[in-house]
């Protein structure tokens, strides 16, 4: 029996390393307990050292790519499911192409969940200006991801916001980018971030780009689920926009056509003169 401790930061590398050693030594899935971030406590802490790396283990590239996503899922069974798939792949190398296999379908579904969470994090993190002065500007954000996606998503922010310092704090893991160095730290409670006046401008934009004649609330919530709203500054306007939409459209319809402003005749004369 092996108990494999997996850290919260660097989970992907730790899982892959352990899986390689275990599969190499032919350890079957039932003989492994995966312990994420000491969640099992002392009770199951069996200190069997992992088998040494004996030979190069081959797995399909498509499995490796899928595993790199699935390890960040919040399902406690993720590591066991991945290992069981790796175990089956030893004798069924074509298994990854079988989209009808139930185990694979479950893993693909988990992969999709992590993909979506990563995508939503790229979309919905909202930075606030910390106004700290200095050569580089500093920003910070609070975000609550569904899965453990801070670590795989942070490099995106590093590529995009390389000329500023930033921090994304979450209850799970906190990412920090200072002077071009990206580091990860334990999660934390929501920090007090200073007010940022640009949020009001963003709210103005959100309200005015909305077309009240095309109200489609379910199309909005399917892409921007309510669970994200509390950390989105623009979401505070949604209720009023929906409530006032019909009246606004009615107003446009009821308004009688107006006479064109006086300048029109002059402009039209000029336009004609140009041709």
């Amino acid at each position: 029996m092996y108990t494999v401790p997996l850290p919260r930061i660097g989970t992907d590398i730790a899982w892959r390393d352990a899986a390689k050693r275990l599969i190499g030594a032919g350890v079957s899935p039932e003989d492994i307990l995966w312990d994420f971030d000491n969640e099992m406590g002392e009770l199951f802490a069996i200190d069997t050292p992992l088998p040494p790396v004996t030979r190069r283990i081959k797995a399909p590239q498509s499995f490796v790519e899928m595993a790199n996503w699935v390890v960040w899922h919040k399902d406690p069974q993720r590591f066991a499911r991945l290992y069981a798939m790796l175990w089956r792949l030893r004798h069924q190398p074509g298994l990854m192409q079988d989209r009808a296999d139930a185990d694979l379908a479950k893993l693909r579904q988990m992969e999709k969940g992590v993909h979506r969470c990563k995508h939503k994090m790229k979309a919905f993190v909202r930075f606030r200006d910390l106004r700290q002065g200095g050569a580089r500007r500093s920003f910070a954000a609070w975000f609550e991801p569904t899965h453990h996606t801070v670590e795989p998503t942070a490099p995106f922010f590093a590529r995009r916001f390389a000329d500023m310092d930033w921090m994304i704090a979450t209850p799970d893991v906190t990412a920090q980018f200072i002077d071009g160095n990206l580091t990860f730290h334990p999660g934390q409670p929501k920090p007090d971030l200073p007010e940022d006046a640009t949020e009001a401008l963003w709210g103005t934009y959100f309200c005015n780009i909305f077309n009240p004649a095309r109200l489609k609330v379910s199309a909005m919530t399917s892409e921007m689920p309510r669970k994200y709203w509390k950390n989105l500054p623009e979401a505070q306007h949604i209720h009023d926009l929906i409530a006032g939409a019909e009246a606004k459209v009615q107003q446009m319809r009821d308004a009688a056509p107006t006479l064109p402003p006086e300048r029109v005749a002059k402009i039209k004369r000029q336009l004609r003169g140009r041709d």
Binding site: G94, R99, A100, A219, T258
Partner: protein, 411 residues
């Protein structure tokens, strides 16, 4: 008139921009700012940073430089004869808004459009200067979409293509006749010429010279256009025919369909209607069938004698119901082309069927796991453990999919 502050200008000039459907930020070159000398990145697929209650994605800061306009297009909120409040951003204001929004991760970039002020050249030149400043002074590497002024000098449009990821010129309405009737200052031939110029310039840029060098990057995300649907009497067959021409002749990346939607201070010339959102949706579905599923316009619009799409059911299903003799299709044997024509199968499902078929014979449940919508597909397919029996030819098949008749409401 009292001076407007930034927030008031933003309200007016985003309000004026919301009738442009496009907010895409995908399909450009991959860039980032890891060198620490700039701001921003683009990585293939765009990101929708928010959704408004109209269900539309907010990816870009979509604004007009100014909503002053000397043209008098009947469908447009900014036409010269409208009494809407007018405003104009300074170049600096547009640059600062873009950069500050971008740094807070609100947007992927800028979509800048404008009313025509003084002259087309002057307007295009002002827009160009904003894009140039973003790129060269602010080292902005995010996405820029510029709405091109068709009457502007070709040199200006060409320069715009060096800074912008995407250029667009709206054809506005589906037929030349309608453009003449509702946008008297615009000329459909000029619009097409401008699109043609962008296309040939892009072709040149993608060719290698005799030294093997590529030309300068030119609108890497291509060009798009928009057509207003429901303002004139054009049928869906006319609209889709126009799209096919635009995709074919001008290699457009996207044709957007925009349901004519009520505007403040409308003109008596074009009475306000309830925006035909269902029609717009069906046109997008048909557009997809033309581009990714191997359908022709004639096939899609043949179902109804009036040349319009069926609003109650999607165009692929409508086609299948008209061509039942071709079904049921055996998912374990059929060609890719035929699988793509099965209602309820998307391109991804078809890809999965083809790869899994090499390993086993497919059953009904397997198809479910692959993401097929069997509620639609089941009448049109045969699988290992499934035959539709008389379902394919049953008289009430359409009724299973069409929504029940709805009580009419007053508008």
């Amino acid at each position: 008139m009292s001076r407007l502050d930034l927030s008031q200008k933003l309200a007016i000039l985003s309000d004026a921009a919301r009738y442009d459907a496009s907010c895409a930020s995908s399909g450009t070159t991959r860039r980032d700012s890891r060198d620490g000398k700039g701001l921003g990145s683009t990585e293939g697929s765009g990101i929708c940073h928010a959704y408004a209650p109209d269900g539309r994605c907010i990816s870009l800061l979509k604004i007009l430089m100014t909503n002053f306009c000397i043209y008098d297009c009947a469908y447009c909120v900014n036409r010269v004869s409208s009494n809407v409040q007018r405003a104009r951003f300074s170049p600096d204001e547009v640059v600062q808004l873009t950069i500050e929004f971008y740094r807070r991760n609100y947007i992927e970039g800028l979509f800048l459009s404008s009313g025509i002020i003084q002259s087309p050249d002057k307007t295009m030149d002002d827009m160009l200067r904003i894009a140039k400043r973003l790129r060269e002074v602010e080292n902005f590497r995010g996405y820029i979409h510029l709405k091109t002024i068709p009457d502007a000098a070709p040199e200006l449009i060409e320069e715009a293509g060096l800074y912008a990821d995407r250029l667009s010129i709206n054809v506005e309405l589906p037929t030349d006749q309608s453009v003449k009737a509702y946008a008297p200052e615009k000329n459909p031939a000029t619009i097409r010429k401008a699109m043609g110029d962008v296309k040939s310039r892009k072709d040149v840029a993608s060719e290698r010279s005799y030294t093997g060098k590529r030309g300068k990057r030119f609108v890497p995300a291509g060009q798009s256009t928009q057509m207003i649907v429901g303002a004139d009497g054009s049928t869906d067959a006319t609209i889709l025919g126009q799209s096919t021409m635009l995709y074919g002749d001008y290699k457009l990346k996207r044709v957007y369909y925009s349901a004519f939607s009520p505007i403040p201070d409308a003109t008596a010339k074009l009475p306000l209607i309830k925006p035909p959102l269902a029609r717009e949706h069906r046109l997008y579905q048909a557009d997809w069938l033309l581009r990714f599923y191997g359908f022709g316009v004639d096939e899609i619009t043949a179902a109804r004698p009036d040349g319009n799409l069926d609003l109650d059911i999607d165009p692929k299903l409508a086609w299948a119901l008209q061509n039942r003799a071709l079904f049921p299709v055996d998912v374990n044997r059929a060609s890719k082309e035929m699988l793509l024509r099965v209602p309820g199968f998307g391109t991804r499902t078809v890809g999965r069927i083809l790869s899994t078929r090499r390993h086993r014979r497919l059953r009904y449940d397997d198809l479910l796991r692959m993401g097929a919508s069997l509620k639609k597909a089941q009448a049109f397919i045969v699988a290992q453990d499934w035959t539709p029996g008389g379902l394919t030819d049953s008289a009430d098949l359409r009724a299973r999919f069409a929504p029940p008749p709805e009580q009419l409401s007053l508008f």
